[in-house]
Amino acid sequence: MTNTIVKAINIHKKFAGSEVLRGVDLEVRNGEVLCILGPSGSGKSTLLRCLNHLETVDDGVVWIDGQIIGYEMRNGILKELPPRKVRRQQREIGMVFQHFNLFPHMTALENVIEGPVIVRKEPRASAIARAEKLLASVGLGDRGNAYPAQLSGGQKQRVAIARALAMNPKVMLFDEPTSALDPELVGEVLDVMRELAASGTTMIVVTHEIGFAREVADRVAIMVDGEIREMGPPAEVLANPTDPRVRSFLARVLA
């Protein structure tokens, strides 16, 4: 599988005058796992949020599976899409947040079936059957009736992963999925992500877990100051970085 599923060209993003992304190019193949590393404030999360249109880009274009996100190209004119069509694109892109963002007034199972039933109008019974399988696959087959407040951080994040997967996304985006977890709960979430990667899911993971990146990623991208400074197989990038800022960053996190 060598076909490109995610492609971003020359992404620029400013927040209140400060440039967070300064021309990022990115290409991810179907089934590939890309880990994005970098010091905090380097624009990793913003890049991820630009890919699924949670943030609008100031310049540049994002394609996912051949569609331009948030726009439509017609006769050389880039036309902004109405919200309805943007939502249609967004539901093809799964996202897992640092702070889980589970719906607290719904049980784990209700969280997982919400998208399929409400957005895709899937019959409730079949959505429940799929959701139960998904919850079992993240090791929470018995916690479907628990509310988020009754779950540990690691369990919440695994429900969040199941919720995103329930929409059968073409790509899964992970925004620091283990950064809000107690250290002893990180492993269970990474295990689920490892299995997901092994099953051939396309994943873009913003993370601080260098070990996970080295082991699971097909490629690693390292961002500094709103640019991708290094990108390539983890063995190369993590071992012999050429960029001095990347080198100092890796020296700090690998120490």
Binding site: N52, L54, P83, R84, R87, R88, Q90, R91, E92, I93, G94, M95, F97, H99, N101, L102, F103, P104, H105, M106, E114, G115, I118, V119, R120, Y147, P148, A149, Q150, R163, A164, M167
Partner: protein
């Protein structure tokens, strides 16, 4: 706590503590007892004053279940319920307008709140009651043509006045509730592809309810009482009915007391209902919090609620 000399533990005392051979003397509160007695005496004097005052208590009991009064209370309940419904609907609509990206709708919503919160309800009721002076005829092209006085009866004027006024307060309440919901919830709904309306209805409003419902309970209690202002525009709710009776038989205080009893009964029932609704909307929140936040509002149970701080 165990004995007076516990601060310098000697061997004998340590031994006594270990074998639990001691007696605990709890701190006494003579002050509380004294204050309680004083308050009870004062309360007794007050009750006695009213019992011996010039009130025909028999008439109070007799009119408590009189037809006019009961029917009046029915109207009071109806006005309150419908006005609350109007208020909540308007409040939700204008709250969403106030949070919209469109500056025009934002401004109109602000204007609505500014006007209707900034003028007295009684004044608004009088204006609605006399609206026919401004618009004598109501014309909906092709559907209806008629005189406004026939449409805006005192009952309708009361509904409009109370409901629209309540809506202005509800706008702020609902807006606060919506704002209290974490931005991440909207983002999660977006990534599932939910529309703005779906997000509002399924994700944001149910969570905003936790903040809105306690206020809503207080508003409903307030509305039950404020609906008595409709008596001023000759809408025959309970207070107006009572006035009509005492204009004839002169039993002013007796009938006012009858009204007070009915209002008290109504607000008490509402308080209990509010307690149970709050319990339902507390679900999903951390459990310790939902349990300690919502107490029966009469001061049954413990008066101090330190559990709130602890839960955080």
């Amino acid at each position: 706590m165990a004995s007076e000399a516990a601060s310098s533990p000697q061997r004998v005392e340590v031994e006594a503590l270990r074998q639990r051979s001691y007696k605990i003397v709890r701190l006494r509160h003579p002050g509380r007892w004294a204050a309680g007695v004083v308050v009870l005496v004062l309360l007794g004097l007050l009750v006695r004053a009213f019992a011996n005052g010039q009130i025909r208590w028999g008439m109070v009991g007799q009119f408590l279940t009189a037809d006019v009064i009961v029917r009046g209370f029915g109207t009071t309940l109806l006005i309150s319920a419908l006005a609350m419904l109007i208020g909540l609907t308007l409040g939700t609509i204008f709250a969403v307008m106030r949070l919209s990206a469109n500056p025009v709708t934002r401004f109109v919503a602000w204007l609505y709140v500014w006007v209707f919160r900034g003028t007295p309800v009684l004044l608004q009721l009088l204006i609605w009651f006399n609206i026919a002076l401004v618009f004598p005829r109501l014309v909906i092209p092709g559907i209806y043509t008629g005189r406004v006085v026939d449409v805006v009866t005192p009952f309708v004027a009361a509904l409009l006045g109370l409901g629209i006024n309540e809506g202005a307060y509800m706008t702020e309440v609902v807006r606060g509730g919506i704002n209290s919901v974490d931005q991440g919830q909207t983002e999660a709904a977006n990534t599932l592809g939910m529309s703005r309306f779906q997000t509002l209805r399924r994700i944001i409003l149910p969570q905003a309810m936790r903040l809105i419902v306690p206020v809503l309970g207080n508003s409903a209690i307030g509305m039950l009482k404020f609906s008595s202002l409709a008596a001023a525009i000759s809408c025959t709710e309970m207070l107006n009915a009572a006035q009509q009776v005492y204009f004839v038989n002169g039993a002013v205080i007796e009938l006012l007391f009858v009204c007070a009893i009915w209002y008290l009964g109504g607000t008490t029932v509402l308080s209990v209902v509010q307690y149970f609704i709050e319990k339902r909307y507390g679900k999903g929140a951390s459990q310790t919090r939902s349990r300690s936040l919502f107490k029966l509002p009469f001061g049954l149970g413990s008066a101090n609620t330190p559990a709130l701080e602890k839960a955080q």
